[in-house]
Structure formats: C-alpha cells, structure tokens
C-alpha cells in the first residue's frame, strides 16, 4: 500500500498495520517486481489467491505467466519448481498443507535438498517451498500438523517459521533471495484471516519498503529474568500472553525466545538466555518425541548443563495424531493453560 501518486498525497499513517497473510504477499510481490525470475506456483495460488491468502492479488498484478495454478499433483509441480530453480529461476512453490508432504517427499528431500550436495556445489536450487501448518480449528489428523521438526531433521533445506507480520515479510524476502532451498512454514493461526481464529498478534505494523529478516537468527520477543521460554510460530503468541499474565499475577518475568528459523538454529540465543535465567521451557506445537524440543534441551545439556537451576520442561503435542473433536484437540495442543502450568512449576510460582 505505498502512496506514490503525487507529492500532495499525505504521508502514510506513522504505523501501517497488516495481517501476516498480507505481509507475506507484499514480500513476494516486491521480490517479483525486483526480479523477473521469481514465479509462484501451486494449487489454487492464482485465481483463488491461496486458500490461506498467502498469494492473494498476485495473479492480477503479475499475470498467469508468473502466477500459475497447477494440477493436483504435488510431485509434479514441486519437481517443476526444482527444475526451474536449477535452470536459474526463483520459484515460490506452495504445498497447500504440510500434511500433504507424504505424496511428494521424494522431490523435496531427495532432490530439492540434495542436488546442491550431489553436484559438488555446482548446481544451486534457489527455491522457496511454502506451506501451511498447524491446528486449533478442528481440521483433524491430516490437516493440522506442524511437522517442522521433520523438515529440520533432514539435511539440505533451510527451514523458517515466522510468528508475526513483520518477520513473515522479511523472512519471505530472505527466503526468495537465498540460493538454497528454503522451506517457509506458516501457521494458519498467525495469518490474521477473519474466518480462522483471529488473534491480536497476527495484525501488526509492517515496514512498507522491502527488507530482509535474517535466516538463522532468533529474536527475543520479550525480555525476562526468571525463566526462558523457547518457542516458535503461534506458540510465541500464547507464550507472550502467558508471560504477561505471570508478570501481572505472580511478578514472574519470562523471557520469550522466538526462534524464527529452525535451520540454521540460533543456538547461541538459546544458550545466552538460559545462562541468564537458569530455567528452560520449550513450547512446540509439533510432536514431542525426536523433535525441536529435544534438540533445544540437548543444546543446553551438551554445552553446560550446570547453567540449569531446574530440570528442562517441555510443552508439545504428545505423540498422537491431532484429534478432530475440539475438546480432544485442545487437550493435545500447547495451549496457554498448559504453558502456564508448566511455567509455574518451573519457577515454583
């Protein structure tokens, strides 16, 4: 929404707010304007604008040559994206739900992620694979998973997971400009879509000009001295809510670390915070075992377990599929209530 018509137009409001979805689209659009090799493809990304509005308006702006609706074959169109990237384009390919990776994982982890290694570094695959993650709206087992731990586990891909509009735009621009394949995972609950669960933190100020948010750098979403909460994506919003409540009710100050990227992982940010607070809670909407929460705990244990004044706590999805029934789904997700209970136990408040 830049004002460009004339000098008589008033300055934009000091703070321009956008939803996360609109911030992502703005990032893609600005890169498409700057670089003719950037194209967008996937199911329903053109006419429909992406089922979670991640590509809304791009077809009108850039036309069907650069914004392409594909048939329902994830293997085919992700392979198409890889081929285009190898030949020098910068495709942004949308996998509608991350849960659908099951039908196209060979293209992703054996080709997109490995061509650079297989070619001895001679062939680059500068593509973005963006995909919707997460639950909380009764979409059940095959449409509610996060699975970022799965992609972060497999070498060869960068993995970014924004939590707010400003980072969503900056990480999108960084992902498109990066010469490596980047998996860009957006939680449906942070998009600011009126028909999904709306939350206040998914509509926020976004700078209008293009800018990069560095991949591999965590941010301190809230400073605190009593315990560290390491988390990502929608759980950042919940953790911040809990931190505000604990501050008001118990005088306990939680530090909330928003990882923003899982690969590369900003271990230094985690270690610096835990060295300060001596207490660590990891909140992850992915499955608990063999994943992000264990990796964070291991990072501290391998470096200096002596910095911990209490055992590490984890709030994650127990190792079961995400249930359809709202009551059961709520029971497995890392809700504010579960985070609050764990945080209070951690600091004995």
């Amino acid at each position: 929404m830049s004002v460009t018509e004339s000098a008589t137009a008033p300055a934009e409001p000091a703070v321009r707010r956008l939803t996360t979805a609109r911030a992502m689209v703005e990032g893609i659009a600005q890169e498409m304007e700057r670089d003719a090799s950037v194209v967008v493809l996937g199911e329903d990304v053109a006419k429909y604008g992406g089922i979670f509005s991640s590509t809304a308006g791009l077809l009108d702006k850039f036309g069907p040559q650069r914004v392409i609706d594909t048939p329902i074959s994830e293997t085919a169109f992700i392979g198409l994206g890889i081929g285009a990237a190898v030949e020098g384009m910068r495709p942004v390919v949308e996998l509608m739900f991350v849960d659908f990776f099951g039908v196209c994982m060979d293209q992703i982890y054996n080709h997109m992620a490995k061509i650079h290694f297989e070619s001895g570094g001679n062939v680059r695959v500068p593509m973005v694979l963006m995909t919707a993650t997460g639950g909380g709206y009764s979409d059940a087992e095959q449409h509610s998973q996060c699975l970022w731990g799965t992609f972060a586990h497999l070498p060869g891909m960068k993995v970014v997971v924004p939590s707010n509009p400003a980072d969503a735009k900056g990480l999108m621009i960084s992902a498109i400009r990066d010469d490596n394949p980047v998996v860009y995972m957006f939680h449906k609950g942070i998009m600011g879509l009126p028909w999904m669960a709306k939350n206040a933190r998914s509509i926020a100020p976004v700078p209008p000009e293009p800018y990069e948010t560095p991949i591999g750098k965590a941010s301190i979403a809230r400073e605190g001295s009593d315990a560290t909460v390491v988390t990502v994506s929608l759980s950042v919003h919940h953790a911040l809510d809990v931190a505000d409540q604990m501050s008001a009710e118990h005088g306990v100050e939680l530090e909330v670390i928003d990882l923003r990227s899982l690969v590369p992982l900003d271990r230094e940010a985690v270690l610096a915070s835990v060295a300060k607070t001596g207490r660590l809670l990891v909140v992850d909407e992915d499955y608990q075992s063999f994943g992000l929460s264990g990796e964070i705990a291991a990072t501290v244990a391998e470096t200096d377990p002596g910095m911990l004044r209490a055992p590490v706590r984890r709030v994650a999805v127990p190792d079961v599929p995400i249930p359809y029934a709202r009551s059961l789904e709520t029971a497995v997700l890392p809700t504010r209530e579960r985070i609050m209970t764990a945080a209070r136990e951690l600091v004995r408040a």
């Binding site: 929404m1 004002v3 018509e5 137009a9 008033p10 300055a11 934009e12 409001p13 321009r16 707010r17 956008l18 939803t19 609109r22 600011g192 879509l193 009126p194 028909w195 709306k198 509509i203």
Partner: protein
C-alpha cells in the same frame, strides 16, 4: 466528507449481515485514496475496504461488530 460503506459481498442477499473483521487504520488516521482501510466478512467470504478519498478517517463500526452490507461503517473527512 465521503461515506465508506460495507461492501456488497453477497449479491443474492443484498441486505445480508457481515462482520467488520479488521481495521488496519486507527480512528483519526490520515489516509490516502485507495489505501486499504479494513477487511470485512460475510459468511466465510472476506472483502477489502479501500479509502474512497484522501483525508482523515473516522471509524463508525468497531472491530468484530456486525453490520449490514451497504451500511455506513466509516467516513473520510
């Protein structure tokens, strides 16, 4: 002074009620003609509210409040 009305999203039901989902600007902000002011929703269809003129915006309907299509929701002064 220019009226801003709730956009017509449902043609079949011209007086259908919707929700003022999001204001991207605050009451009293300076806005430019064509700037995105807000987002509305009827059933599960969402639509944009753009500024019809340049000036100071006055918001007349709060976020999450219901309004009928065509209803006055803001003014640009």
């Amino acid at each position: 002074m220019t009226d801003v009305r709730f956009p017509q999203l449902s043609q079949e039901q011209p007086d259908a009620e919707g929700v003022l989902a999001t204001w991207f600007v605050a009451d009293g902000d300076q806005v430019a003609s064509g700037q995105l002011l807000g987002e509305v929703m009827v059933e599960k269809v969402s639509g944009e509210v753009l500024a019809p003129a340049t000036g100071r915006v006055r918001l007349l309907v709060a976020e999450d409040q219901t309004a009928r299509q065509g209803e006055l929701i803001a003014r640009v002064e």
